[in-house]
Symmetry: C2
Subunit: 182 residues, 2 copies
């Protein structure tokens, strides 16, 4: 065993496992035992670190948006000084790269699916608000461009979840045209 760990140090590890596992199975399709196994601890201890399955899911979702915001911020820094649409484009590229492993993307989709759980809906709106505000203020682009930015992101989610990335048909290529998927 590499090093000691207090409960506070365990929390981020468990949260990371929760992101991974909930991304795989969604809220109802993932058990607390799944997360516990991925984090190499007992299910009982998960409930010592998080008061309920809902709160665990929310922690995962918060972490998901935290990563996204951080990545978008770095991309905005890199393109700062350029034209607004260039900055948005850089952010879009960074986002595409970030969600290449599908976890952060799937977690968002699963969150939409259980957004009627109040705490989840709240966390979803909070994350979305941060992203939209970030895109707007850091790029300085028009409202329409920011809206399009988010819409394309959602299209991206659809492409990945429905697995049409490698469908060779005409209709599929209409949807995937110009969308980055590394």
């Amino acid at each position: 065993m590499p090093s000691l760990s207090t409960a506070q140090m365990r929390v981020p590890v468990v949260t990371a496992s929760a992101v991974e596992e909930f991304a795989r199975g969604g809220f109802h399709g993932t058990t607390v035992a799944d997360v516990a196994r991925a984090a190499r601890i007992s299910p009982a201890y998960v409930f010592k670190l998080f008061p309920s399955k809902e709160r665990l899911f929310v922690a995962a979702l918060d972490d998901c948006f935290r990563q996204i915001v951080e990545t978008l911020g770095v991309a905005a820094d890199g393109a700062a000084g350029g034209p607004p649409d260039g900055i948005l484009d850089a952010m879009g590229g960074a986002y595409a790269e970030l969600i290449a492993d599908r976890s952060l993307l799937m977690l968002q989709v699963h969150a939409q699916s259980v957004a009627d759980i109040p705490e989840v809906g709240q966390a979803l709106r909070a994350g979305l608000a941060t992203v939209v505000r970030l895109a707007k203020t850091r790029s300085g682009a028009s409202d329409e461009a920011v809206q399009r930015f988010v819409a394309v992101g959602q299209l991206c989610h659809l492409i990945v979840t429905s697995g049409i990335e490698d469908v060779p048909d005409e209709w599929a290529s209409i949807l995937t045209a110009g969308i980055r998927h590394p």
Copy 2:
């Protein structure tokens, strides 16, 4: 009791109940008993009409896309002869009206969430293919316009699922600008 009914006549009724119930709770959050109750039959009989919960869900999803395609087709008929973007616009308006009750919208989101179930992913792709092909051939619009049409639809799903329709903040109005929600 109004009229007699054979098993074949029950199927569409149960399917309609399945749309409603699965739209409410998603695949894992809805029990077969929920659907049975909504359809006023016993859970056991649902399994006589559908071989498994998965197949029941797929039947609901197919019905969802059937309604969408039908609605979009009628809208395209109504706007036929006009400019391509006008036809797409008419289809968009009809879609917005159709999903006003949220059932068909939520069911699609839930389907994305469990698209890793092979039968569900398949049904999702099939429905999507039909919609895209319909939008393209009936409107005659450019590939980019059709892609934008779908992207806006997905943005619409995000707006509804995350419940930002009546969030008064700046960021929310950026996302909802110009989107029809009756």
